[in-house]
């Protein structure tokens, strides 16, 4: 193998794949990056932790093709520090040698054939999405996943595609976020994606150089962004039947300024119970009060203007849930709709792009002294 490439391009590509490499693995081969060079002039870097794999392709000036696997972090740490514009690399199975004006670096190779193969994904009909829209959808839902390993199906982000809609749903059993996008998708597909893959995706999107395509098999998903590919093992479902818990008619509707509510919650939460993060919200026509108290710390109360003309309602929430949710909203105002102090509250940005939708559910906290029936 023999090729040369720009330091910055090679460094960027290494940076993308190196983030997948596990810190310490029982399988030493997983700590390596596979460098493959084709005589046609393509340099491909691949790294995997067996759940997630990233493959990046860059153009290089290739003299001779070949494959070599070397320690990913070491290679990255050296390339990152180089000040040379051009570097040249030569390699065979036993190792990789990097040469540039400042010197020469040799990395011992690992057995190339031990490097795990990537999953086979049938190439038909990938789903195409605007990377910016995809990024927004992930950002608006990913925070809501569960971290409870005893309910693994809730630790994933549920991606569901139908003829004219794609949606992403996450829930931890107490709150739920669903972001949807309309479009002529013309296929049906469901997959449960692990958060690790989506965090990786957000990283790759930041560096996107082209459209985003999603395809999948029974157990794997592949997301292609330009010349970069992300493979992820899918989680096992079934994802709960979330549609039936979305309230059909929450008659008590209120609209507030998002920034006001967000800032208010940030202050109020300082004096809420650090375990429950309980805040009490009292709605009455024209007035929204938020309160919290924490024994031994103090208490707080604020009042915000609100567009509301329903019956007075007092409802408890985990204020942390509201805060995390509101941070992902865009636009100036937030719409809220309630039915009672013990049923799911519905939240959405009042202003949305015509092809986008975002809907969040948050279950209330039972306030001390509540009647069982609320």
């Amino acid at each position: 193998m023999k090729f040369s490439t720009s330091q910055s391009g090679f460094q960027k590509a290494l940076h993308l794949v190196a983030s997948v490499v596990p810190g310490k693995s029982t399988l030493p081969i997983l700590e390596t990056v596979l460098v493959e060079v084709s005589p046609a002039g393509e340099v491909t870097l691949t790294a995997t932790d067996l759940d997630i794999s990233v493959r990046v392709q860059r153009a290089g000036e290739v003299e001779e093709g070949g494959r070599v696997a070397v320690a990913a972090r070491r290679l990255h740490d050296v390339v990152r520090e180089l000040r040379d514009a051009e570097i040249s690399l030569t390699g065979e199975e036993s190792g990789l040698t990097l040469r540039c004006a400042s010197g020469r670096y040799r990395f011992v190779g690992a057995p190339v054939d031990d490097f795990p193969g990537l999953p086979e994904i049938p190439d038909q009909k990938p789903l195409q999405v605007d990377p910016a829209k995809m990024e927004r959808m992930v950002r608006q839902t990913l925070y809501a996943v569960s971290t409870d390993e005893t309910r693994p199906e809730l630790t994933g982000l549920f991606l569901s595609i139908s003829d004219d809609q794609m949606s992403m749903v996450a829930t931890n059993g107490h709150r739920l976020a669903r972001a949807s996008l309309s479009g002529a998708f013309k296929q049906k597909r469901e997959m449960l994606l692990p958060p690790k893959a989506l965090n990786q995706l957000l990283r790759l999107i930041g560096d996107a150089d082209g459209p985003l395509e999603i395809s999948g098999s029974k157990n794997y998903a592949r997301i292609r962004i330009g010349s970069t590919q992300l493979y992820s093992r899918l989680l096992e479902g079934p994802f709960p039947d979330y549609e039936k818990v979305i309230p059909k008619s929450n008659p008590l509707r209120a609209v507030v300024r998002r920034e006001d509510l967000l800032a208010s919650l940030r202050r109020i939460l300082v004096l809420s119970d650090s375990q429950t993060r309980q805040v009490k919200i009292m709605l009455e026509p024209g007035r929204l009060q938020i309160m919290a108290q924490y024994q031994g710390a103090g208490e707080a109360q604020e009042e915000l203007p609100v567009d509301y003309d329903g019956t007075p309602l007092t409802i408890g929430y985990n204020g942390g849930y509201l805060l995390e949710m509101l941070k992902t909203f865009d636009g100036e105002r937030v719409e809220m709709a309630f039915q009672s102090a013990v049923s799911a509250g519905l939240f959405k940005p009042a202003e949305l792009q015509p092809d986008e939708d975002l809907l969040c559910l948050v279950m209330p906290l039972r306030l001390p002294g509540d009647d069982a029936a609320g």
């Binding site: 390993e149 829930t171 709150r175 429950t276 799911a344 039972r366 069982a372």
Partner: protein, 405 residues
């Protein structure tokens, strides 16, 4: 005198249930009184007045044995609603002295007075004031131990019962512990005591002087811990309220039972009761514990820690039943009980999106109605049919007549 760095109080009511009964019925004064189950139904003594204790009667003794020791014993069924309301008065008083109160039972608690002393006065005065507050609010006496180490306060409160106040000043802890028998130490049960006595250690002083390596060799980490205690070293803190609590139900049968269906039915009922109380207090527990006592009085407890805290009756029951299946060898069972510990506030409190609220609330209302009936008519008014059928051979349940309206 060394300064007080930390100051702990242990407050323990004197013969609590019996004292409440005597307070409310002066004709009982001076008579041997116990609260507990009836001797015919193989009840046990829950509390004995000091007059009854003179006959060697103590709590947890089978009632039949108590009656043998004192035929003119006055046996009262106990009024737990009343004890609970007195307990609430007590906890309110404790709260005046410290934000960190760890109740051990209805009538016993640790208080961390470390922060309080500066504002409320010297240690012995604090002890006197707590006792006086209890007396004026409840017309009952308490014994109080005050010490710079938590477990020493507990030993102290017991030394001059009833109506005692024992203060162990910093610097006096070792001298205070030295002459006491090792059985007074927390964590020294009958078996540990025997083993210690076998190597000539009868007093806490001897234990303190013992070679630490020898203790570790013999008792492992527990030996190290015991040695520290004997030296008056213990870093345990007051664990406020719910963190320390556990929720359990147990039952001693009128006759020993060896049929699995019956025992599982009882577990199911108990799991529901525990779950109800957990939910009432808006908490969950992480560890489920099964307790079995066999006809030879051998008692085992087995526990299982769940991956996440629960208050769900079916989870508590399933875990308890699995423990039962694993640890019950078909022998006759005298007592069975289930409990939940490792208490934390209910799962961040938010209600669950995916449970059927209506069904949940119907269950909750039913459970509360059953609780009210139980409270009015004594225990176990309504039971699952499975349990009732299995109990048919047992004759009527001990019951009290309804009180008031």
């Amino acid at each position: 005198m060394a300064p007080w760095e930390r100051i702990f109080a242990h407050v323990d009511m004197d013969a609590f249930y019996a004292s409440v009964e005597i307070r409310d019925d002066p004709s009982l004064a001076g008579r041997p009184v116990v609260v507990g189950g009836s001797p015919g139904a193989r009840g046990v003594v829950s509390a004995a007045s000091y007059e009854a204790r003179r006959f060697g009667i103590h709590s947890a003794m089978p009632m039949a044995e108590a009656v043998r020791r004192c035929p003119r014993l006055v046996i009262l069924p106990g009024d737990f609603a009343k004890y609970r309301s007195v307990s609430e008065q007590l906890m309110e008083i404790f709260g005046r002295y410290s934000p960190a109160v760890e109740p051990l039972s209805l009538d016993e608690a640790f208080l961390d007075l470390s922060g309080t002393r500066r504002s409320l006065g010297p240690a012995d005065l604090l002890g006197r004031r707590i006792k006086e507050d209890i007396r004026s609010a409840t017309r009952l006496t308490a014994s109080v131990g005050i010490a710079p180490v938590k477990f020493v306060a507990k030993i102290a409160s017991d030394l001059e019962k009833p109506d005692g106040l024992v203060l162990v000043a910093p610097g006096e802890v070792e001298a205070f512990l030295r002459p006491l028998p090792i059985g007074r130490l927390w964590g020294v049960g009958p078996r540990t005591r025997e083993a210690l006595e076998a190597i000539g250690i009868r007093t806490i002083g001897r234990l303190a002087a013992a070679d630490r390596k020898l203790l570790v060799g013999r008792f492992g980490r527990h030996g190290e811990h015991l040695h520290d205690l004997a030296l008056g070293r213990d870093a345990r803190e007051v664990v406020p309220d719910w963190e320390a609590r556990s929720y359990s139900h147990e039952e001693t049968f009128a006759r020993d039972r060896a049929d699995a269906e019956f025992l599982e039915g009882v577990l199911l009922d108990q799991a529901h009761r525990v779950s109800r109380r957990l939910r009432r207090d808006a908490v969950c527990g992480r560890t489920v514990q099964l307790k079995l006592r066999f006809s030879d009085f051998r008692t085992i407890t087995r526990r299982e820690t769940l991956s996440r805290p629960t208050a769900d009756a079916s989870v508590i029951y399933r875990t308890g039943r699995d423990l039962f299946a694993r640890h019950w060898a078909h022998g006759a069972v005298r007592l069975i009980g289930i409990g939940v510990s490792g208490i934390v506030p209910a799962a961040a409190g938010s209600l669950d999106l995916f449970t059927d609220r209506e069904a949940e609330e119907r269950r909750q209302r039913l459970a509360e109605a059953i609780d009210r009936l139980d409270e009015r008519f004594g225990r176990s008014t309504l039971l699952p049919a499975k349990v009732l059928r299995a109990r048919e051979g047992d004759g009527p349940h001990p019951r009290r007549p309804p009180r008031g309206a």
